[in-house]
């Protein structure tokens, strides 16, 4: 993302629509910070899109003077995905809430995070259904008394960051709407991440769930209840920075820095490839007596979905040429029906002489031409000939050598298969390391006195260099052959292919893509 001067200001992102959230709603602060951060990003505003679902938070796009869609309940990530796949140049933000994103749209959220499409997902978590007037949400703690749970809710709560870790999200962060500077920084970080960014924002619903985040947002108490994550730094918190997190077995615990040296504390790494550290962090919940992490849990680079989609398209064009409709229509057996006025009366049959019809031109065929199927090549083709896999020279010996010699040869040259030939150099059989284990070991007392002939496999399924890769794969997968011998037309061994070589060939030809 190159920074260019566009001279955009906060005002450029304010739409002409009156903001209609309840006075005092946490959403106002989120909107204001978003409008403050976007001008800094150096992205023309016509390239920015906000897509939301349904809920209080989902009114957000109406208030942003960018492109935007206020879609339907839970489905914003799906629209955003289709849009981003169509035009990867756009910066697409998804605005969702705890009900929209984790309940009705839970399926879309997890699959979007899994794919790592370059979307910025902001989840406003107020632990309540606001727009439908106050039912408990998937993030409400058990026991929450609402209109639909007068005796207290009994659903265990979703843990949004843990969900994101579980599906392999590449950017996970948490902030609070009251902590405006921190929130702005999280939006900046999310904007700069390449891949799906997931930011959970603690947001207060004044009307239906006031104070749900008090422990994490009240300036008087929050420092004891939250911990700011800093990359490569130990986990330290408290108003006086006097507490830290230490790993005790597999459980994080709170320790006092008066008693424990800083070097014993857990250190935060955003870019840890596996999700274990992020998962620890996600499990640190207030209700379990732990400070809740705020900041970037995880930020790793993984392949970005839409880029791979476009790479496949480019590769297909490179391999097959830019699509030609006429050619595509002809990708089948075709035949021509000529104008009947050209003299073909269409008589059918060869007459009564009973002979088998011969190949060649016949009046019956003049009006009809048979064309071959146009080919469409896949990236690597199962019809590739085995010679293209560069088979290795086989290890060849006379079938008259002893078992001891044969084993010695396999051992010395570290190969898995020995081709045994007769006096004319033609394949008589094969002897493999597997044969040593299965047939020889424990059964033969004098290796040098026993001819290998007695232990070789004679009914060998060999292929030729111009046989296809598909045949080799077939033998290897169905018959569990680890090596396949290649012979020439005179049944002389000319090459050997290992299953590893075949696997590498396939892999290489995918990897180049």
């Amino acid at each position: 993302m190159t920074e260019v001067t566009l001279n955009l200001t906060r005002k450029d992102f304010v739409s002409d629509q009156m903001v209609r959230w309840c006075p005092g709603c946490g959403d106002y602060a989120i909107l204001a910070q978003m409008q403050r951060v976007l001008p800094e990003l150096g992205i023309p505003k016509e390239d920015i899109v906000f897509i939301s679902g349904i809920g209080c938070s989902s009114r957000f796009p109406y208030y942003m003077d960018t492109y935007g869609i206020h879609s339907i309940h839970g489905r914003a990530p799906t629209l955003a995905s289709g849009l981003k796949l169509t035009n990867p140049n756009l910066q697409v933000w998804v605005i969702t809430g705890d009900g929209d994103g984790l309940s009705i749209g839970g399926n879309h959220l997890i699959h979007t995070l899994r794919r790592n499409i370059d979307l910025k997902i902001i989840l406003f978590n107020n632990r309540i259904y606001g727009l439908t007037k106050g039912q408990y949400s998937p993030t409400s703690l058990p026991g929450t008394k609402t209109k639909s749970s007068p005796m207290g809710s009994i659903d265990p709560a979703f843990n949004p960051t843990a969900v994101a870790v579980g599906v392999g999200a590449t950017f996970i962060a948490r902030t609070a709407a009251t902590d405006v500077k921190h929130m702005a920084e999280m939006f900046r970080r999310a904007a700069h991440h390449k891949g799906t960014s997931f930011v959970e924002v603690y947001q207060n619903c004044l009307i239906f769930n006031d104070g749900a985040w008090d422990y994490a947002t009240n300036p008087k108490t929050k420092h004891e209840n939250i911990i700011y994550l800093e990359d490569h730094k130990p986990l330290i918190f408290g108003k006086n920075k006097d507490k830290g997190i230490r790993l005790n077995g597999i459980h994080p615990e709170v320790v006092s820095l008066d008693e424990v040296d800083e070097s014993e504390l857990m250190v935060h790494y955003e870019d840890m490839p596996d999700g274990s550290l992020s998962y620890f962090l996600s499990q640190m919940r207030h209700e379990r007596g732990m400070p809740e992490p705020m900041g970037v849990f995880r930020c790793v680079d993984e392949p970005v979905y839409e880029e791979e989609v476009l790479q496949q398209i480019d590769l297909a064009i490179e391999q097959k040429g830019k699509g030609d409709l006429q050619q595509l229509f002809y990708q089948a057996d075709t035949w021509v029906v000529e104008d009947e006025s050209s003299g073909q009366n269409g008589s059918n049959g060869q007459g009564g002489n009973g002979s088998v019809p011969t190949l060649g031109v016949d009046e019956e065929y003049v009006g009809v031409v048979f064309n071959d199927e146009a080919s469409s090549e896949p990236y690597f083709s199962p019809t590739d000939t085995l010679s293209t896999l560069n088979p290795r020279q086989p290890l060849i010996a006379s079938q008259d050598i002893s078992l001891g010699e044969a084993i010695q040869k396999l051992h010395n040259l570290d190969v898995g298969l020995l081709a045994l030939v007769d006096d004319n150099g033609k394949l008589a059989g094969v002897f493999t390391e597997g044969d040593v284990l299965r047939k020889v070991a424990g059964n033969v007392t004098d290796l040098d006195a026993t001819p290998v002939k007695d232990f070789m496999t004679t009914n060998v399924t060999a292929l030729k260099e111009d046989d296809t890769l598909a045949q080799a794969i077939h033998l290897m997968s169905i018959h569990k052959f680890r090596h396949i011998l290649l012979v020439d037309d005179d049944n002389r061994p000319v090459g050997v292919l290992s299953s590893r070589r075949v696997a590498h060939y396939i892999q290489d030809n995918f990897a180049e893509n």
């Binding site: 799906t78 169509t86 060869q350 065929y365």
Partner: protein, 620 residues
């Protein structure tokens, strides 16, 4: 054997069914027979019928794979009501196909497969070849496996199991003899297909010749049938299934718009093949997205349309139900998308591999609120190509979702397709505004085109046209959220008017036969072939009956009412319980509509419609 001299009989058409175990290569045999017949200039229509189980146990009824070919010297529109000839490779194939065979039909059986074990697997208590139960049929008992092995005995490089795999070519060769087909096409195919396996090629060729010679030298096969060339329109032809035609139509429409094609979908029988085909067309900038569910399929499609792609989603009945809410969002956003519904037997999961036309009312009305959406239906497998292009044209013209109805019968069935000249398919004009359309440089996303009433399709990335759209009630022109009563009424009126106006632009309904008369048959979708054939037959006998086949279901063609007025009675055959009739009655209620309905999972036969026509004409 030289004294054998075959007698030739000319016939117009023959319907032959090849039936055997899934592993017997019956689809290949049927396809080879179709290709040769097509190359010989016959018109063909085929109906592959394979088991829904991925791998049903060998020898059982569930494992029977069939392929029916109708080949004729006249134009054929269906794979034929009932086969006249059945090639049965095992007892299960005989048992499952026999009920369909015409009385007195011909049966060619492989007697070698009628072992005790196979008979038991097929559920036969006694051998039907011996107990007289096939009396009345012309039965040819052929020890096909034995004869095939004998014919291939000189081939050393193959095991007897491998040799047995050629026995379908023996059967093919025999049918080629009986129907006076040339062997060239199949020989050439074998040579190409097995170029790298000369032994297999040789075995298949020998088997083909052996079958042919067996017919030639057997007294029972000395009556040969000749089916002359059909008078097909000149051109280059290929076989095509409805699903492939749909995929080709979509990619053609995208190319004609100069746009990428986005296809967001979730796999569902019988629509998945469209996804399979499209995913191989990536060099046409086709972006297929296998979403996590049906809803994500259509959601991503709406997003892609917002971004300016030609955006399409495909599904079958249960999936269409899931897409309902999002289809309505597309309607409110007034973004063009195409929803393809390859209908199957319902309700609920129903019969996924069987065919039905029972999603019509769902397509028309299966959404909340006032939500008219254009609906069009393909009439044949090859017609799916044109219908798909048409659906895309309508969508971008009117900025609306469009539902295209196909069905399992069209999707999986095949027929000859006269390959069009790609250059002659007209371009589809799409405009994306770059300048504001309101006062003071304002962009009004819902300011409509005076003629089409479509709103402008401004796409993200265009400076100055930033706008927000959503599913809430709207103010006209600005699209701003509005619950104002007049605004809501006006927007609903406008969206309805926009769809209704399409009728002015779409072609008029054509009538097959006389413009007036006692009886009109009205059909839609895949019943076209059976209905048109039945009407043709009746008219050939001098009966006064005409046919209207409706492609545009919403809006109906502008002259449809006038056409209906010219007939006393109207027969409507449908593979549902009368859904088109509901629509016709709602709009043209004064007519007498006679329903002919069937929901058996199988298409109409010509005979069924023909007999209904006759009985109605006899009453009057």
């Amino acid at each position: 054997m030289s004294e054998l001299k075959p007698i030739y009989k000319d016939v117009d058409s023959v319907v032959i069914r090849f039936a055997g175990d899934s592993g017997d290569g019956m689809q290949l045999t049927g396809t080879q027979f179709s290709s040769t017949s097509a190359v010989l200039g016959n018109d063909i229509s085929t109906f592959p019928d394979y088991p829904s189980e991925i791998r049903a146990p060998a020898g059982t009824l569930a494992g029977v794979s069939g392929f029916q070919v109708n080949f004729a010297s006249k134009h054929v529109l269906t794979p034929g009501d009932a086969p006249q000839v059945l090639v049965a490779m095992n007892p299960a194939a005989l048992k499952s196909a026999l009920p369909d065979l015409v009385p007195g039909g011909t049966i060619i059986v492989n007697t070698d497969s009628f072992t005790k074990n196979n008979l038991a697997k097929a559920g036969y208590d006694s051998n039907p070849l011996e107990d007289g139960s096939l009396e009345g049929y012309k039965v040819h008992k052929v020890p096909l496996t034995t004869m095939n092995r004998e014919a291939l005995k000189d081939i050393e490089d193959l095991t007897s199991k491998e040799k047995d795999r050629s026995q379908n070519f023996f059967a093919l060769g025999l049918t080629f003899w009986i129907y006076d087909r040339r062997l060239d096409t199949s020989l050439k195919w074998i040579e190409q297909k097995f170029a790298k396996k000369p032994a297999v090629a040789e075995a298949n060729k020998k088997a083909l010749f052996a079958g042919y010679h067996f017919g030639e030298n057997t007294e029972a096969f000395q009556v040969r049938y000749r089916i002359r060339r059909a008078h097909l329109e000149p051109g280059t032809y290929r076989r095509i299934t409805g699903n492939e035609a749909t995929a080709l139509g979509l990619v053609t429409a995208a190319q004609k718009m100069g746009k990428p094609l986005f296809y967001g979908t979730y796999p569902i029988t019988p629509a998945s093949d469209i996804l399979h085909y499209l995913s191989t067309y990536k060099n046409f900038d086709v972006r297929t997205f296998q979403a996590e569910d049906e809803i994500a399929g259509i959601g991503s499609t709406i997003g892609a349309s917002f971004g300016g792609a030609l955006a399409v989603t495909g599904t079958s009945g249960p999936g269409l139900a899931l897409k309902t809410e999002a289809a309505n969002l597309a309607l409110m956003l007034e973004l063009p998308i195409v929803i393809i519904d390859v209908q199957r037997g319902g309700p609920s999961t129903g019969m996924p591999t069987k065919t039905e036309q029972s999603d019509l009312l769902q397509a028309m009305y299966g959404r909340n609120g006032e939500s008219p959406i254009p609906v069009i239906a393909a009439q044949s497998s090859a017609d799916c190509f044109d219908t798909a292009i048409e659906a895309c044209r309508i969508a971008v013209r009117a900025m609306t979702p469009v539902i295209m109805l196909s069905d399992g019968y069209l999707g999986n069935g095949a027929e000859p397709w006269k390959i069009p000249d790609a250059d002659k398919i007209p371009p589809i004009e799409v405009k994306h505004p770059t300048e504001p359309n309101g006062e003071n440089g304002k962009f009004l996303p819902y300011k409509r085109d005076p003629e089409t009433m479509a709103r402008p399709w401004a796409i993200p990335g265009t400076p100055g046209l930033e706008h927000r759209i959503g599913g809430l009630g709207k103010q006209p022109e600005t699209g701003n959220v509005s619950y104002d009563p007049d605004d809501n009424q006006q927007m609903i009126n406008e969206r309805a008017e926009k769809v209704a106006r399409l009728a002015n632009w779409l072609p008029e309904q054509e009538v097959f036969g006389d413009e007036t008369g006692d009886l009109l048959v009205v059909s839609w979708g895949s019943t076209f072939g059976a209905t048109r054939s039945a009407v043709q037959s009746a008219r050939a006998e001098g009966k006064k009956v005409s046919h209207v086949h409706i492609r545009y279901i919403n809006p109906f063609p502008r002259n449809l009412g006038d056409i209906l007025n010219n007939f006393k009675r109207i027969l409507v055959p449908e593979m549902n319980m009368g859904q088109l009739v509901v629509l016709l009655r709602a709009k043209y209620g004064t007519h007498e509509f006679i329903q002919q309905n069937k929901v058996t999972g199988r298409p109409f036969t010509i005979k069924e419609v023909y007999e209904k026509i006759n009985s109605l004409l006899a009453e009057s």
